[in-house]
Protein backbone atom coordinates (compact mmCIF):
# COMPACT_ATOMS: atom_id res chain seq x y z
CA UNK A 1 0.00 0.00 0.00
CA UNK A 2 1.62 3.24 -1.10
CA UNK A 3 1.16 6.17 1.27
CA UNK A 4 0.55 9.24 -0.87
CA UNK A 5 2.37 11.65 1.40
CA UNK A 6 5.57 9.59 1.54
CA UNK A 7 8.65 10.51 -0.42
CA UNK A 8 9.27 8.92 -3.79
CA UNK A 9 10.45 5.36 -3.51
CA UNK A 10 9.39 4.78 0.09
CA UNK A 11 6.82 2.01 0.28
CA UNK A 12 4.83 1.62 3.44
CA UNK A 13 4.00 -1.94 4.23
CA UNK A 14 1.04 -2.00 6.54
CA UNK A 15 0.50 -5.58 7.58
CA UNK A 16 -2.29 -4.96 10.04
CA UNK A 17 -5.45 -3.27 8.88
CA UNK A 18 -6.39 -1.56 12.11
CA UNK A 19 -3.42 -1.30 14.44
CA UNK A 20 -5.31 0.17 17.35
CA UNK A 21 -7.99 -2.48 17.44
CA UNK A 22 -5.91 -5.59 16.94
CA UNK A 23 -2.94 -4.66 19.15
CA UNK A 24 -4.49 -5.12 22.62
CA UNK A 25 -6.21 -8.31 21.43
CA UNK A 26 -2.97 -9.83 20.17
CA UNK A 27 -1.19 -8.91 23.40
CA UNK A 28 -4.05 -10.30 25.50
CA UNK A 29 -4.08 -13.60 23.63
CA UNK A 30 -0.31 -13.97 23.81
CA UNK A 31 -0.24 -13.33 27.57
CA UNK A 32 -3.19 -15.68 28.14
CA UNK A 33 -1.46 -18.46 26.23
CA UNK A 34 1.74 -17.86 28.17
CA UNK A 35 0.03 -17.81 31.57
CA UNK A 36 -2.13 -20.87 30.86
CA UNK A 37 0.81 -22.86 29.58
CA UNK A 38 2.93 -21.98 32.58
CA UNK A 39 0.35 -22.66 35.35
CA UNK A 40 1.35 -26.30 35.63
CA UNK A 41 5.00 -25.39 36.25
CA UNK A 42 6.68 -25.39 39.64
CA UNK A 43 8.24 -22.10 40.77
CA UNK A 44 11.51 -21.90 38.87
CA UNK A 45 14.81 -20.63 40.18
CA UNK A 46 16.72 -17.74 38.68
CA UNK A 47 18.94 -19.95 36.58
CA UNK A 48 16.29 -21.49 34.33
CA UNK A 49 14.17 -19.53 31.90
CA UNK A 50 10.50 -20.04 32.71
CA UNK A 51 7.98 -20.95 30.04
CA UNK A 52 6.34 -17.59 30.65
CA UNK A 53 9.48 -15.67 29.71
CA UNK A 54 10.04 -17.90 26.68
CA UNK A 55 6.50 -17.31 25.45
CA UNK A 56 6.90 -13.56 25.81
CA UNK A 57 10.15 -13.75 23.83
CA UNK A 58 8.35 -15.63 21.06
CA UNK A 59 5.69 -12.91 21.04
CA UNK A 60 8.34 -10.22 20.72
CA UNK A 61 10.01 -12.05 17.85
CA UNK A 62 6.65 -12.32 16.07
CA UNK A 63 6.16 -8.56 16.48
CA UNK A 64 9.29 -7.86 14.45
CA UNK A 65 7.43 -8.74 11.28
CA UNK A 66 5.89 -5.38 10.23
CA UNK A 67 6.93 -2.41 12.32
CA UNK A 68 4.51 0.54 12.59
CA UNK A 69 7.59 2.76 13.12
CA UNK A 70 7.73 2.95 9.32
CA UNK A 71 4.83 5.41 9.47
CA UNK A 72 6.90 7.70 11.71
CA UNK A 73 9.92 7.30 9.42
CA UNK A 74 7.88 8.42 6.40
CA UNK A 75 6.40 11.39 8.28
CA UNK A 76 9.89 12.27 9.53
CA UNK A 77 11.34 12.29 6.04
CA UNK A 78 8.57 14.67 4.96
CA UNK A 79 9.26 16.96 7.93
CA UNK A 80 13.00 16.97 7.19
CA UNK A 81 12.23 18.33 3.71
CA UNK A 82 9.32 20.58 4.65
CA UNK A 83 9.76 24.36 4.76
CA UNK A 84 8.77 25.48 8.28
CA UNK A 85 9.09 28.36 10.70
CA UNK A 86 9.54 32.13 10.27
CA UNK A 87 12.45 31.53 7.85
CA UNK A 88 10.34 29.15 5.75
CA UNK A 89 13.29 26.78 5.46
CA UNK A 90 13.67 22.99 5.56
CA UNK A 91 16.11 21.08 7.78
CA UNK A 92 18.00 19.77 4.75
CA UNK A 93 21.11 21.86 5.50
CA UNK A 94 21.26 20.69 9.13
CA UNK A 95 24.64 19.29 10.19
CA UNK A 96 23.93 16.14 12.17
CA UNK A 97 27.59 15.29 12.63
CA UNK A 98 28.74 14.23 9.18
CA UNK A 99 28.31 17.58 7.45
CA UNK A 100 25.39 19.72 6.33
CA UNK A 101 22.49 17.63 5.07
CA UNK A 102 24.14 14.22 5.56
CA UNK A 103 21.58 11.93 7.18
CA UNK A 104 22.96 8.50 6.30
CA UNK A 105 25.08 7.20 9.17
CA UNK A 106 24.81 10.39 11.23
CA UNK A 107 23.27 8.69 14.29
CA UNK A 108 26.31 6.44 14.65
CA UNK A 109 28.60 9.40 15.48
CA UNK A 110 26.30 11.07 17.99
CA UNK A 111 26.63 12.53 20.61
CA UNK A 112 29.30 14.86 19.27
CA UNK A 113 30.79 18.28 19.93
CA UNK A 114 29.54 20.95 17.51
CA UNK A 115 31.47 24.19 17.08
CA UNK A 116 28.42 26.22 16.03
CA UNK A 117 26.73 25.66 19.39
CA UNK A 118 29.97 25.07 21.32
CA UNK A 119 28.55 22.05 23.09
CA UNK A 120 28.14 18.30 22.91
CA UNK A 121 24.81 17.44 21.32
CA UNK A 122 22.76 14.31 20.76
CA UNK A 123 20.34 13.91 17.84
CA UNK A 124 17.37 15.67 19.43
CA UNK A 125 19.50 18.51 20.72
CA UNK A 126 20.92 18.93 17.22
CA UNK A 127 17.41 19.02 15.73
CA UNK A 128 16.49 21.78 18.19
CA UNK A 129 19.63 23.71 17.21
CA UNK A 130 18.79 23.40 13.52
CA UNK A 131 15.14 24.32 14.01
CA UNK A 132 16.34 27.49 15.71
CA UNK A 133 19.24 28.35 13.39
CA UNK A 134 17.78 27.29 10.04
CA UNK A 135 14.03 27.60 10.50
CA UNK A 136 13.92 30.53 12.93
CA UNK A 137 11.94 28.84 15.71
CA UNK A 138 12.62 29.95 19.30
CA UNK A 139 14.28 27.33 21.52
CA UNK A 140 11.02 27.06 23.49
CA UNK A 141 9.01 26.39 20.32
CA UNK A 142 11.54 23.81 19.13
CA UNK A 143 11.54 21.97 22.50
CA UNK A 144 7.79 22.11 23.02
CA UNK A 145 5.96 18.75 23.13
CA UNK A 146 8.86 16.46 22.27
CA UNK A 147 6.94 13.23 22.92
CA UNK A 148 3.79 12.16 21.10
CA UNK A 149 0.71 10.96 22.90
CA UNK A 150 -2.91 9.87 22.37
CA UNK A 151 -4.27 12.03 19.57
CA UNK A 152 -1.10 14.14 19.58
CA UNK A 153 1.34 13.90 16.65
CA UNK A 154 4.62 15.76 17.17
CA UNK A 155 7.45 16.41 14.69
CA UNK A 156 10.33 15.36 16.96
CA UNK A 157 9.73 11.61 17.24
CA UNK A 158 9.04 11.33 13.50
CA UNK A 159 12.29 13.13 12.66
CA UNK A 160 14.17 10.87 15.09
CA UNK A 161 12.58 7.78 13.51
CA UNK A 162 13.58 8.89 10.01
CA UNK A 163 17.14 9.94 10.84
CA UNK A 164 17.90 6.85 12.95
CA UNK A 165 16.47 4.57 10.24
CA UNK A 166 19.20 5.94 7.96
CA UNK A 167 21.81 4.45 10.32
CA UNK A 168 20.26 1.00 10.53
CA UNK A 169 22.76 -1.79 10.02
CA UNK A 170 25.77 0.45 10.67
CA UNK A 171 28.18 0.22 13.60
CA UNK A 172 28.08 2.74 16.42
CA UNK A 173 31.13 4.96 16.08
CA UNK A 174 31.13 7.67 18.75
CA UNK A 175 34.55 9.36 18.79
CA UNK A 176 34.52 11.02 22.23
CA UNK A 177 37.91 12.62 21.52
CA UNK A 178 37.15 16.34 21.92
CA UNK A 179 37.76 17.48 25.53
CA UNK A 180 34.07 18.36 25.95
CA UNK A 181 33.09 14.95 24.59
CA UNK A 182 35.42 13.23 27.06
CA UNK A 183 34.03 15.35 29.87
CA UNK A 184 30.46 14.51 28.84
CA UNK A 185 31.33 10.81 29.03
CA UNK A 186 32.76 11.13 32.55
CA UNK A 187 29.82 13.23 33.74
CA UNK A 188 27.42 10.73 32.18
CA UNK A 189 29.14 7.97 34.10
CA UNK A 190 28.80 9.86 37.39
CA UNK A 191 25.11 10.39 36.71
CA UNK A 192 24.64 6.71 35.84
CA UNK A 193 25.88 5.72 39.30
CA UNK A 194 24.11 8.58 41.15
CA UNK A 195 21.75 7.15 43.74
CA UNK A 196 18.98 9.41 44.91
CA UNK A 197 15.31 10.07 45.45
CA UNK A 198 13.13 8.40 48.09
CA UNK A 199 13.90 4.92 46.72
CA UNK A 200 17.72 5.36 46.52
CA UNK A 201 17.55 4.38 42.86
CA UNK A 202 20.20 5.10 40.28
CA UNK A 203 20.48 3.83 36.71
CA UNK A 204 22.93 1.34 38.22
CA UNK A 205 20.21 -0.21 40.42
CA UNK A 206 18.59 -1.91 37.42
CA UNK A 207 21.34 -1.68 34.83
CA UNK A 208 24.52 -2.43 36.76
CA UNK A 209 24.46 -6.25 36.99
CA UNK A 210 24.14 -9.23 34.65
CA UNK A 211 20.99 -11.24 33.93
CA UNK A 212 18.47 -9.21 35.90
CA UNK A 213 14.88 -8.65 35.06
CA UNK A 214 12.19 -6.36 36.54
CA UNK A 215 8.97 -8.37 36.60
CA UNK A 216 9.41 -10.14 33.25
CA UNK A 217 11.31 -7.36 31.48
CA UNK A 218 14.97 -8.27 30.89
CA UNK A 219 17.40 -5.58 32.02
CA UNK A 220 20.61 -4.98 30.06
CA UNK A 221 23.79 -4.45 32.08
CA UNK A 222 24.75 -1.11 30.55
CA UNK A 223 28.24 -1.22 32.07
CA UNK A 224 29.05 -4.26 29.91
CA UNK A 225 29.76 -3.90 26.19
CA UNK A 226 27.57 -6.65 24.70
CA UNK A 227 24.44 -5.63 26.62
CA UNK A 228 25.11 -1.92 25.99
CA UNK A 229 25.46 -2.51 22.24
CA UNK A 230 22.24 -4.50 22.06
CA UNK A 231 20.26 -2.07 24.23
CA UNK A 232 21.47 1.22 22.78
CA UNK A 233 21.12 -0.17 19.27
CA UNK A 234 17.42 -0.86 19.84
CA UNK A 235 16.27 2.72 20.51
CA UNK A 236 14.21 4.46 19.18
CA UNK A 237 11.46 1.87 19.22
CA UNK A 238 7.79 1.54 18.43
CA UNK A 239 6.34 0.80 21.85
CA UNK A 240 3.35 -1.46 21.24
CA UNK A 241 1.82 -0.75 24.65
CA UNK A 242 1.83 2.99 23.92
CA UNK A 243 1.27 3.05 20.17
CA UNK A 244 4.12 5.55 19.81
CA UNK A 245 7.71 5.67 18.60
CA UNK A 246 9.87 6.41 21.67
CA UNK A 247 13.33 7.95 21.41
CA UNK A 248 16.35 7.72 23.68
CA UNK A 249 15.52 11.09 25.26
CA UNK A 250 12.10 9.64 26.07
CA UNK A 251 13.66 6.50 27.52
CA UNK A 252 15.87 8.52 29.89
CA UNK A 253 12.99 10.79 30.90
CA UNK A 254 10.78 7.79 31.69
CA UNK A 255 13.49 5.97 33.63
CA UNK A 256 13.94 8.96 35.95
CA UNK A 257 10.18 9.25 36.43
CA UNK A 258 10.07 5.64 37.59
CA UNK A 259 13.14 6.22 39.77
CA UNK A 260 10.99 8.77 41.64
CA UNK A 261 13.29 11.62 40.53
CA UNK A 262 11.91 15.00 39.42
CA UNK A 263 11.47 15.46 35.65
CA UNK A 264 14.52 15.22 33.35
CA UNK A 265 14.34 18.17 30.98
CA UNK A 266 14.35 17.49 27.24
CA UNK A 267 17.84 17.79 25.71
CA UNK A 268 19.23 18.95 29.05
CA UNK A 269 23.01 18.70 29.74
CA UNK A 270 22.48 15.66 32.02
CA UNK A 271 20.45 13.86 29.35
CA UNK A 272 23.19 14.44 26.76
CA UNK A 273 25.98 13.40 29.15
CA UNK A 274 24.14 10.16 29.95
CA UNK A 275 23.51 9.52 26.25
CA UNK A 276 27.23 10.05 25.58
CA UNK A 277 28.14 7.52 28.28
CA UNK A 278 25.71 4.90 26.96
CA UNK A 279 26.32 5.51 23.25
CA UNK A 280 30.09 5.28 23.56
CA UNK A 281 29.71 2.08 25.60
CA UNK A 282 27.79 0.71 22.61
CA UNK A 283 30.55 1.44 20.08
CA UNK A 284 31.11 -1.25 17.42
CA UNK A 285 27.64 -2.59 18.05
CA UNK A 286 25.36 -2.80 15.05
CA UNK A 287 22.63 -0.17 15.24
CA UNK A 288 19.29 -1.82 14.56
CA UNK A 289 16.53 0.73 15.07
CA UNK A 290 13.78 1.86 14.96
CA UNK A 291 12.89 -1.47 16.53
CA UNK A 292 9.67 -2.71 18.08
CA UNK A 293 9.15 -3.32 21.80
CA UNK A 294 6.32 -4.37 24.10
Amino acid sequence: MRDQSASEGRLIKIRRRDLNRSRPAVLGIAVAIAAFGALAQKPDDHLSKSTTVQEIEKYRAALGDGNPAELWEARGEDLWKQKRGPRNASLERCDLGLGAGVVKGAYTVLPKYFADSDKVEDLESRLVTCMVNLQGLTPEEAKKDPFGGPGKKVPMDALVAYITSESRGMKMNVAATHPKEKEAYELGREIFFFRGGPHDFGCVTCHGSDNLRIRLQDLPNLTKTADAQRAYGSWPAYRVSQGEVRSFQWRLNDCFRQQRFPELEFVSPASIALTMFLAKNANDGVFDAPSIKR
Partner: protein, 207 residues
Amino acid sequence: MKNIHIVILGLAVTAAGCAGVTQDEQATHAKAVAIMKASFKEHGQAKLDRLEQDEVQKACSRYHGDTPVPKDVAAKLEQAQMAAIKYPADGKYMGDWKGGERIAQTGVGMQYTDDPKAPTGGNCYACHQLSKTELSYGTIGPSLYNFGKLRGFTPEMQKYAYGKVYNSEAFSACSNMPRFGAQGILTEKQIQDVVALLMDPESPVNK
Protein backbone atom coordinates in the same frame (compact mmCIF):
# COMPACT_ATOMS: atom_id res chain seq x y z
CA MET B 1 65.17 20.12 47.17
CA LYS B 2 64.08 16.80 45.72
CA ASN B 3 63.29 15.35 49.14
CA ILE B 4 61.01 18.28 50.01
CA HIS B 5 59.10 17.81 46.77
CA ILE B 6 58.65 14.15 47.50
CA VAL B 7 57.43 14.90 51.02
CA ILE B 8 54.92 17.52 49.79
CA LEU B 9 53.67 15.18 47.08
CA GLY B 10 53.40 12.43 49.66
CA LEU B 11 51.37 14.62 52.00
CA ALA B 12 49.04 15.71 49.20
CA VAL B 13 48.43 12.12 48.09
CA THR B 14 47.86 11.03 51.69
CA ALA B 15 45.42 13.86 52.29
CA ALA B 16 43.38 12.84 49.26
CA GLY B 17 43.74 9.18 50.14
CA CYS B 18 42.45 9.78 53.68
CA ALA B 19 39.19 11.12 52.24
CA GLY B 20 39.16 8.10 49.91
CA VAL B 21 38.47 10.29 46.87
CA THR B 22 40.98 11.95 44.58
CA GLN B 23 40.62 15.65 43.85
CA ASP B 24 39.81 14.82 40.21
CA GLU B 25 37.00 12.50 41.30
CA GLN B 26 35.64 15.14 43.65
CA ALA B 27 35.67 17.77 40.89
CA THR B 28 33.91 15.46 38.41
CA HIS B 29 31.30 14.47 40.96
CA ALA B 30 30.65 18.08 41.93
CA LYS B 31 30.23 19.06 38.29
CA ALA B 32 27.89 16.09 37.67
CA VAL B 33 25.71 17.15 40.61
CA ALA B 34 25.67 20.72 39.29
CA ILE B 35 24.53 19.74 35.80
CA MET B 36 21.91 17.41 37.27
CA LYS B 37 20.43 20.24 39.29
CA ALA B 38 20.33 22.33 36.11
CA SER B 39 18.75 19.49 34.10
CA PHE B 40 15.78 18.50 36.24
CA LYS B 41 12.61 20.42 37.00
CA GLU B 42 10.06 19.80 39.68
CA HIS B 43 6.87 18.05 38.61
CA GLY B 44 3.95 17.27 40.89
CA GLN B 45 5.16 15.73 44.15
CA ALA B 46 8.70 15.23 42.81
CA LYS B 47 10.53 18.32 43.98
CA LEU B 48 14.19 19.15 43.38
CA ASP B 49 15.10 18.22 46.95
CA ARG B 50 14.94 14.61 45.76
CA LEU B 51 18.33 15.27 44.15
CA GLU B 52 19.90 16.03 47.55
CA GLN B 53 21.81 12.92 48.54
CA ASP B 54 21.92 11.72 52.13
CA GLU B 55 24.93 9.93 53.63
CA VAL B 56 23.85 6.51 52.31
CA GLN B 57 23.27 7.75 48.78
CA LYS B 58 26.50 9.76 48.67
CA ALA B 59 28.60 6.83 49.83
CA CYS B 60 26.83 4.19 47.77
CA SER B 61 27.10 6.18 44.52
CA ARG B 62 30.81 5.42 44.71
CA TYR B 63 30.61 1.66 45.26
CA HIS B 64 29.32 -0.53 42.45
CA GLY B 65 30.38 -3.38 40.17
CA ASP B 66 34.04 -4.21 40.77
CA THR B 67 34.33 -1.68 43.60
CA PRO B 68 32.40 -3.13 46.54
CA VAL B 69 31.71 -1.19 49.73
CA PRO B 70 34.79 -1.38 51.99
CA LYS B 71 34.06 -3.31 55.19
CA ASP B 72 34.70 -0.37 57.50
CA VAL B 73 32.48 1.98 55.48
CA ALA B 74 29.76 -0.69 55.36
CA ALA B 75 29.90 -1.29 59.10
CA LYS B 76 29.55 2.43 59.88
CA LEU B 77 26.62 2.85 57.46
CA GLU B 78 24.81 -0.22 58.76
CA GLN B 79 25.21 0.90 62.36
CA ALA B 80 23.78 4.35 61.64
CA GLN B 81 20.92 2.91 59.59
CA MET B 82 20.07 0.32 62.28
CA ALA B 83 19.62 3.16 64.76
CA ALA B 84 17.07 4.73 62.39
CA ILE B 85 14.67 1.75 62.47
CA LYS B 86 11.39 2.48 64.27
CA TYR B 87 9.69 -0.73 65.34
CA PRO B 88 5.93 -0.74 66.10
CA ALA B 89 5.26 0.65 69.58
CA ASP B 90 3.03 -2.28 70.55
CA GLY B 91 5.65 -4.83 69.44
CA LYS B 92 3.27 -6.30 66.86
CA TYR B 93 5.21 -7.07 63.69
CA MET B 94 2.60 -8.98 61.69
CA GLY B 95 -0.51 -7.60 59.98
CA ASP B 96 -2.70 -9.12 57.27
CA TRP B 97 -1.01 -11.08 54.46
CA LYS B 98 -3.82 -10.28 51.99
CA GLY B 99 -2.96 -6.59 52.41
CA GLY B 100 0.69 -7.54 52.01
CA GLU B 101 0.04 -9.27 48.69
CA ARG B 102 -1.76 -6.14 47.40
CA ILE B 103 1.19 -3.99 48.45
CA ALA B 104 3.61 -6.43 46.79
CA GLN B 105 1.65 -6.26 43.52
CA THR B 106 1.26 -2.47 43.43
CA GLY B 107 3.99 -0.48 41.74
CA VAL B 108 2.58 3.02 41.96
CA GLY B 109 3.43 5.70 44.46
CA MET B 110 5.73 8.75 44.63
CA GLN B 111 6.25 9.12 40.88
CA TYR B 112 5.25 12.54 39.57
CA THR B 113 2.50 10.86 37.55
CA ASP B 114 1.02 9.29 40.69
CA ASP B 115 -1.80 10.72 42.77
CA PRO B 116 -0.17 11.74 46.08
CA LYS B 117 -3.39 10.84 47.89
CA ALA B 118 -3.54 7.27 46.61
CA PRO B 119 -1.86 4.51 48.65
CA THR B 120 1.74 3.77 47.73
CA GLY B 121 2.75 0.21 46.86
CA GLY B 122 5.91 -1.67 47.69
CA ASN B 123 6.24 -3.18 44.22
CA CYS B 124 7.92 -6.23 45.75
CA TYR B 125 7.22 -8.41 42.69
CA ALA B 126 9.30 -6.04 40.56
CA CYS B 127 12.40 -7.55 42.17
CA HIS B 128 11.37 -10.68 44.06
CA GLN B 129 9.60 -13.97 43.64
CA LEU B 130 7.06 -14.33 46.46
CA SER B 131 4.00 -16.56 46.10
CA LYS B 132 4.08 -19.73 44.00
CA THR B 133 1.30 -18.66 41.66
CA GLU B 134 2.62 -15.23 40.67
CA LEU B 135 4.84 -15.97 37.69
CA SER B 136 5.48 -12.37 36.72
CA TYR B 137 8.28 -11.64 39.16
CA GLY B 138 11.67 -9.99 38.90
CA THR B 139 15.15 -11.18 39.78
CA ILE B 140 16.84 -8.00 41.00
CA GLY B 141 16.51 -9.39 44.52
CA PRO B 142 16.57 -12.98 45.83
CA SER B 143 13.53 -15.23 45.78
CA LEU B 144 11.38 -14.88 48.92
CA TYR B 145 9.33 -17.96 48.20
CA ASN B 146 8.83 -19.93 51.45
CA PHE B 147 10.47 -17.09 53.40
CA GLY B 148 8.96 -17.98 56.79
CA LYS B 149 8.85 -21.73 56.16
CA LEU B 150 12.62 -21.82 55.53
CA ARG B 151 13.64 -19.57 58.41
CA GLY B 152 11.15 -20.59 61.10
CA PHE B 153 7.96 -18.85 62.19
CA THR B 154 9.51 -17.13 65.22
CA PRO B 155 9.02 -13.66 66.76
CA GLU B 156 12.74 -12.97 66.18
CA MET B 157 12.35 -13.66 62.46
CA GLN B 158 9.25 -11.45 62.33
CA LYS B 159 11.26 -8.63 63.89
CA TYR B 160 14.12 -9.19 61.44
CA ALA B 161 11.68 -9.12 58.49
CA TYR B 162 10.15 -5.89 59.79
CA GLY B 163 13.54 -4.26 60.15
CA LYS B 164 14.66 -5.45 56.74
CA VAL B 165 11.63 -3.99 54.96
CA TYR B 166 11.85 -0.81 57.07
CA ASN B 167 15.53 -0.23 56.33
CA SER B 168 17.43 -2.71 54.18
CA GLU B 169 20.59 -0.59 54.48
CA ALA B 170 20.84 -1.51 58.17
CA PHE B 171 21.56 -5.11 57.20
CA SER B 172 23.34 -4.70 53.87
CA ALA B 173 25.09 -1.40 53.20
CA CYS B 174 24.42 -0.04 49.72
CA SER B 175 21.64 -2.56 49.14
CA ASN B 176 19.56 -1.98 46.02
CA MET B 177 16.39 -2.33 48.08
CA PRO B 178 14.52 0.88 48.96
CA ARG B 179 14.26 1.88 52.62
CA PHE B 180 10.49 1.52 52.79
CA GLY B 181 10.06 2.69 56.37
CA ALA B 182 13.01 5.04 56.83
CA GLN B 183 12.17 6.95 53.63
CA GLY B 184 8.46 7.10 54.35
CA ILE B 185 7.42 5.00 51.35
CA LEU B 186 5.23 2.55 53.28
CA THR B 187 3.35 3.13 56.53
CA GLU B 188 3.81 1.05 59.68
CA LYS B 189 0.58 -0.83 58.95
CA GLN B 190 1.67 -1.53 55.38
CA ILE B 191 5.02 -2.93 56.55
CA GLN B 192 3.19 -5.13 59.08
CA ASP B 193 1.08 -6.48 56.20
CA VAL B 194 4.22 -7.20 54.16
CA VAL B 195 5.77 -9.01 57.15
CA ALA B 196 2.61 -11.13 57.32
CA LEU B 197 2.97 -11.94 53.63
CA LEU B 198 6.47 -13.22 54.40
CA MET B 199 5.93 -14.78 57.83
CA ASP B 200 2.31 -15.89 58.21
CA PRO B 201 2.08 -19.69 57.87
CA GLU B 202 -1.21 -19.12 56.03
CA SER B 203 0.38 -16.74 53.51
CA PRO B 204 0.67 -18.07 49.92
CA VAL B 205 4.41 -17.37 50.23
CA ASN B 206 4.69 -20.24 52.72
CA LYS B 207 2.44 -22.71 50.90
